[in-house]
């Protein structure tokens, strides 16, 4: 459905994208995870034709030119910056963008109602957007791109600077879009978002894709071990009794507590259970995409 092949883009001396390639299948949600300046927005702008690549090619639904009207009609792009008319109301914004995409009459009215409902803006639909909260503006910014029901959605950090309530509403909306079978590319520097929403994630840094896979596979490959901390009812009679069940040689014992790292936490827990020790508390810290990024780049996502 979406194909980026060897994309290259420079801004003067700065290399924004260096040989970026990926493919996204129909109905898949693909994440581009990386810190600020990694090249996520540039990738989106190349995909939707706002920028021309210095090298490589983009293919959307089998067509190589994103500037073609039929390609643009199949795209819904949610830009990172708020791209709405604050002087107008939500309804006026939606009506305008709807008409630009060829909607009219009853169809436009229906889509308008449905999108306002989706974004939770129905009650304030006639109010000036400049009076909206940041979260409301974000939601409007997003639904302006869904109005014409495009099969492909490109979402560029749609949750930047929003309150938790609005963020959840945005997540629900995107999950709704996923269920409807739309193909989505979602850029973010929040690993929780990528983990929650994306089927596959590409880790992007300094214009390069470092790795690309499902979240689980990335964690297995690059996340490192999970950390387990267990406290037992009674003092452990002897560490040697436990040690055979644990692969980590740097296991730490402390009175009734035990700490160790493992790449297969579920198996380790099952083995601990088999040792006969009775648990008082158990804390499992599994690896996440933050660890994946740290291990791949030596830096944290928000550094």
């Amino acid at each position: 459905m979406i194909k980026a092949a060897n994309l290259k883009k420079r801004y003067g001396d700065i290399v924004a994208l260096n040989d970026v390639s990926f493919e996204v299948d129909k109905g898949e949600t693909f994440g581009l995870l990386g810190p600020n300046g990694a090249g996520k927005t540039t990738t989106i702008q190349l995909l939707c034709g706002l920028l021309k690549p210095d090298g490589g090619a983009v293919e959307l639904d089998g067509k190589r030119d994103p500037s073609l009207v039929e390609v643009r009609l199949s795209l819904g792009v949610v830009p990172q910056a708020l791209a709405i008319y604050e002087e107008l109301s939500a309804e006026e914004n939606l009506r305008f963008f709807g008409r630009i995409y060829g909607l009219s009459g009853r169809q436009l009215k229906e889509r308008l109602r449905s999108c306002l409902e989706l974004a939770g803006l129905r009650e304030r639909s006639k109010g000036r957007v400049s009076k909206y909260s940041g979260g409301m503006k974000r939601r409007l910014n997003m639904i302006c791109s869904f109005l014409h029901e495009p099969p492909i959605l490109l979402l560029d950090e749609p949750t930047v600077g929003v309150d938790p309530q609005s963020r959840n509403l945005i997540f629900d909306t995107i999950e709704d879009m996923k269920k409807q079978g739309r193909t989505i590319i979602y850029t973010t520097h929040y690993m929780e978002e990528a983990q929650r929403l994306c089927d596959r994630v590409a880790i992007l840094d300094h214009g390069r894709i470092l790795d690309m896979d499902s979240v689980e596979n990335l964690i297995v490959k690059h996340g490192g071990p999970s950390h387990i901390e267990a406290e037992f009812e009674e003092r452990l009679s002897g560490p040697d009794k436990i040690r055979p069940f644990i692969e980590d040689k740097n296991i730490q014992f402390e009175e009734t507590k035990i700490r160790f790292a493992t790449s297969q936490p579920m198996q380790s827990l099952a083995m601990l259970n088999r040792s006969g020790a009775r648990f008082r508390s158990l804390k499992v810290q599994t690896a996440n995409l933050e660890d994946v990024f740290l291990n791949l780049t030596g830096r944290r996502l928000r550094d």
């Binding site: 008319y85 107008l88 302006c144």
Partner: protein
């Protein structure tokens, strides 16, 4: 076309949502019309009520008559001061000039026309040179009028003739033959003054010495030219300038807000987006024209000259400014920079083109520069239709200049915008 209209309607909605925009685009030109219409209500007579100080050191009958001639002129406002005070007031800029009538000013022709020993001095404000020239004309006119009164005073005239006769007898530089000729003429003139009967004498010497016949340069004009008719083209141009600046800034605002990119991602070509902006600017200008036209017609009862030519002039002027709007929006990447650069350019165009001060009041080098200002051509096209009684062939030149500027500016603007966006 439908999409163009949607884009234009959206822009008009955005424009009308801001009260500041409404004032500057629609209200300001109307205020401008009222203000300048009032200022130019004495149009054709020059700057009315120019304040000058008069110092009468002669205190003769002739100087009093001369001053009363100056006081009766509507174009002047006279204050009587001492020499020192008058010069001080000029230095402080409180009066345009000081006119000093030296002792001996009223001593007849010798005093009035002796260029070696002038009896009238003028101290004028160096920053008001144009008014100074205008004042000299008014002073000469008053001088001739006062002199005209003296011409019918036979006693005074014969005294002058006697003075000429004495001068002639003492003129050693003339040979005898030439001196004889002049003396014969003076004797004949004296005889005329002595013997002519009252009726023929008055017919010969009474009346204005400096009177002008005014020729009407208009061809078919039927009603009077009101001051608002003269300022109307300037007012329209101000409306267009406001509109141009507002829409140029609105394009940059869309670029910085990201809505421009959102439109580019949509199923629209560049031509749609920029055409929509241009159409909105065009429609706003038309709206301004309608408001001002209605006001001028209904409130000021202003004759509009040739309506089809007026429409032609208006359309060409608007298209020119739509093109300029497109160019100006590329002069910066922020609203502030485009706002500042746009206004700087438009103000210079306005000043050079005669939107602030009529071109006639400008020095010749500035008038030459005005050819580069579209405002000048816009005003000329509109004046041509409203009161200059231009024929269609005479309208072609300003209209073609306007269209050429508009098309060039639009093309350059689109080219630069595309380059900046990529």
């Amino acid at each position: 076309m439908k999409k163009l209209l949607f884009l234009a309607v959206k822009d008009l909605r955005v424009l009308l949502s801001d009260k500041g925009n409404i004032f500057w685009v629609f209200g300001f030109p109307v205020l401008f019309a009222l203000f300048f219409g009032a200022i130019y209500s004495g149009a054709g007579k020059g700057p009315s009520g120019m304040k000058i100080a008069v110092v009468d050191e002669d205190k003769s009958e002739f100087s009093s008559s001369y001053i009363s001639k100056l006081e009766s002129d509507e174009a002047l406002q006279i204050v009587h001061l001492s020499r020192e005070d008058a010069i001080e007031q000029v230095r402080k800029g409180k009066v345009a000039a000081a006119v000093i009538l030296n002792k001996g000013f009223g001593e007849g022709f010798e005093a009035l026309f002796n260029s070696d020993d002038p009896r009238l001095e003028i101290a004028s404000d160096p920053s008001r040179r144009m008014e100074s020239g205008y004042l000299q004309g008014l002073l000469a006119k008053a001088q001739f009028e006062a002199l005209g009164d003296k011409f019918i005073d036979r006693k005074w005239m014969r005294e002058q003739v006697n003075l000429w006769r004495e001068d002639m007898k003492n003129a050693n530089e003339l040979d005898a033959e030439q001196a004889e000729l002049y003396l014969n003429f003076i004797d004949s003139f004296d005889t005329l003054l002595k013997d002519a009967n009252e009726e023929s004498f008055n017919l010969g010497f009474d009346g204005d010495m400096l009177n002008f016949a005014k020729l009407d340069v208009s061809r078919e004009y039927e009603g009077p030219i009101t001051p608002f008719q003269i300022t109307f083209p300037q007012v329209l141009l101000w409306g267009f300038l406001m509109c141009t600046a507002t829409f140029a800034v609105s394009i940059v605002k869309e670029r910085t807000n990201g809505t421009f990119d959102r439109l580019r991602i949509g199923p629209l070509g560049y031509a749609h987006i920029l055409g929509g902006k241009g159409l909105a600017c065009f429609l706003t200008c038309i709206f301004i024209i309608c408001i001002l036209f209605f006001g001028a017609k209904v409130i000021f009862k202003m004759p509009m000259g040739n309506l089809p030519l007026f429409i032609l002039g208006v359309l060409c002027t608007i298209l020119c400014f739509v093109g300029l709007m497109m160019f100006i929006c590329t002069l910066g990447r922020t609203e502030q920079s485009v706002g500042a650069a746009g206004w700087a350019i438009l103000m210079i165009m306005g000043m050079l083109g005669g939107a602030m001060m009529p071109l006639a009041f400008m020095p010749s080098w500035l008038r030459a520069l005005s050819h580069f200002s579209p405002v000048k051509w816009g005003i000329l096209a509109l004046e041509g239709a409203i009161w200059r009684d231009f024929r269609f062939t005479e309208m072609i030149s300003p209209c073609l200049v306007l269209l050429a500027i508009g098309i060039s500016a639009f093309s350059l603007g689109v080219f630069m915008l595309r380059r900046q966006e990529n």
